[in-house]
């Protein structure tokens, strides 16, 4: 189990003067499933890039298992924190799907049977096992994104950080991402994901953190974040609760953040 925490982290992009993160404190316990939501430009991507050392805070500290992550090299952080970029083309470089997925675990020192199993499990998890020899650029954008996910999964990091994993995925792709998240959680791994899809957020995560202009404004389970009492805060940053939550409120139910919760409430 790996705990990650931000302690009063602020970040200003060099030369821009834009304060992308403003005194953010956030602790994520090992094994938690957390969704990070907020308006475009609210600091979500900036926040997650602090977790694996791609960005260093202008002020404050990033803690990994209680120790300042600043002491770790990026290579050490890579063993703990696996970050999947929003744009797979920022990540993919190898000439075949298999080689792409092999790169990470090989660099972590996996060899032989262990390496083979790590690669095959990751490809299997995202449904690319039959495409091992394909050139990544012969895959469509959505499958390239799943490949980027597989290449990080194969490293079996205790913490998995996903930047808009469902973007550009069709129904089946979204289900693949959901299964990956569920099985990572079942294996005790932490999953932190950025998403604009509130339906997905409400049904796949137990904790939701809302950012506005670089600050955390809400932090709690979907049943609280999408309950009617939180709507003014959500809407202050132009987020809409899931349709099920809005229908539930219309019908006078207690929080029904997911379709299932709404149908259950209706059935009673």
């Amino acid at each position: 189990m790996t705990d990650v925490a931000l302690e009063s982290v602020s970040y200003v992009y060099p030369g821009s003067g834009v304060r992308a993160l403003d005194d953010v404190s956030l602790r994520v316990a090992g094994g938690e499933g957390l969704a990070l939501v907020g308006q475009n430009g609210s600091g979500k991507t900036t926040l997650v890039r602090h977790l694996n050392g791609l960005l260093r805070p202008s002020a404050g500290r990033v803690m990994l298992d209680g120790a300042d992550a600043h002491r770790n090299t990026v290579a050490q952080l890579a063993r703990s924190i696996g970050l999947v970029f929003q744009d797979p083309d920022q990540q993919i470089f190898a000439g075949s799907v298999r080689a792409e997925v092999e790169f990470g675990p090989r660099n972590l020192g996996l060899r032989g049977e262990q390496l083979r199993v790590a690669i095959e499990e990751a490809l299997e998890a995202v449904g690319l096992a039959a495409n091992a020899r394909t050139n990544p650029y012969d895959l469509g954008g959505s499958r390239r994104k799943l490949l980027a996910l597989a290449s990080v999964l194969a490293m079996r990091t205790p913490v998995l950080v996903l930047d808009e994993p469902t973007t550009g995925q069709d129904v089946r792709g979204v289900e693949v991402v959901r299964r990956v998240i569920d099985s990572a959680r079942a294996a005790g791994r932490t999953v932190i994901a950025i998403s604009h899809d509130m339906e997905f957020v409400a049904s796949a995560f137990e904790r939701v953190v809302v950012l506005r202009a670089g600050s955390v404004i809400l932090d709690g389970p979907p049943s609280v974040i999408f309950a009617e009492s939180s709507w003014p805060e959500l809407r202050s940053t132009f987020l809409e609760p899931p349709l099920a939550a809005r229908l539930g409120a219309q019908l006078g139910f207690q929080a029904t953040p997911t379709d299932d919760a709404l149908i259950r409430a209706l059935a009673q």
Binding site: Y13, S16, V18, G38, Q39, N40, G41, K44, T45, Q86, D87, D89, G140, G141, S142, R143, E164, T167, G168, Q169, D170, V171, R172, G173, V174, H196, M198, E199, F238, L239, E240, P242, L243, A244, R246, L247, Q250, L251, D259, D260, L262, I263, L266, A267
Partner: protein
């Protein structure tokens, strides 16, 4: 008017075509949505409709793309760019990378059209305003978030006042507010007479702005019709397309065999929220 007439298209080196005998006509002022599973041919259709395949991406095409009744193939690149705009799925592909500020990025298109200075300023200001990115005008495009870049890319297209516009998942990285701004901007452009083709996963958005929807499967048209009919079609899920929220929840209610009082309550709540479709 934008017409695809019997299009079959094969990418260079591909063993078989990605698009088979697709014909589609968009009248002036019409917004047509393209849905389908990943790799069903949505992006290919966008490239063909915008005249970029095979022109810049290679491959071989049979059939014709017609812009206001004229074959697009013989047009020079600059003539094509004046007549049809394309928004790529990835804003990083879209941005010119030669401008230092968002303002210049959005003005880049109109400047290349050789418009008078006053007109460029008006169009740039209006497009920045319409997509809610006026406050980013002095920022460097490369240093924006993915979603902000996507809004800037769409603003740049709007400033061109395209008569025909093709968009490939233009809201993929956008928050709900940004998605709504794009929807409203496209609706206004269509009201001014533009023909708009939009590939999207967000069927709630399509329900809001489209007159017609075309569902693709393996490079062929599998379903086509009025937006409300296609979005409520039983076959849509099988084609890998997410249902609009209201359709999805109605289906779940049916599957749970709720009694008719409960179903009526749900229907009333849906009507009150005026959820699309």
């Amino acid at each position: 008017m934008l017409e695809l007439d019997g299009i079959t298209y094969r990418y260079a080196g591909a063993p078989r075509p990605s698009m088979h005998e697709v014909s589609l006509t968009l009248a002036d002022g019409e917004v047509v949505g393209i849905v389908g599973a990943s790799e069903a041919g949505k992006s290919t259709l966008c490239l063909v409709a915008a005249g970029l395949a095979p022109r810049t991406v290679g491959g071989s095409l049979s059939g014709r793309v017609l812009l206001d009744g004229h074959d697009a193939a013989p047009l020079a690149m600059h003539q094509l760019a004046e007549r049809v705009g394309i928004c790529f799925a990835n804003p990083a592909t879209q941005l010119s990378r030669v401008t230092a500020t968002v303002y210049e990025e959005v003005a880049f298109g109109p400047m290349n059209l050789g418009l008078p200075r006053g007109e460029i300023i008006d169009r740039t200001g209006a497009a920045l305003e319409a997509l809610g990115v006026a406050d980013l005008a002095e920022r460097e495009p490369a240093r924006l978030s993915g979603g902000q870049q996507q809004l800037v890319a769409v603003a740049g297209l709007l400033a061109m006042h395209p008569q025909h516009l093709v968009l490939d998942e233009p809201t993929a990285q956008l928050d709900p507010a940004g998605t709504q701004l794009v929807a409203e901007a496209l609706a206004r452009l269509a009201a001014d007479g533009a023909s708009i083709l939009i590939a999207e996963q967000k069927t709630d958005l399509l329900a809001q702005i489209c007159t017609r929807i075309v569902a693709l499967e393996a490079g062929r048209i599998a379903l086509e019709g009025a937006a409300a009919d296609v979005l409520a079609d039983e076959r849509l899920t099988g084609l890998g397309v997410a249902l609009p929220g209201s359709v999805r929840i109605r289906r779940l209610a049916e599957a749970a065999s709720l009694g008719s009082p409960q179903r009526d309550k749900l229907a009333t709540a849906l009507a009150t929220l005026d959820a699309p479709a």
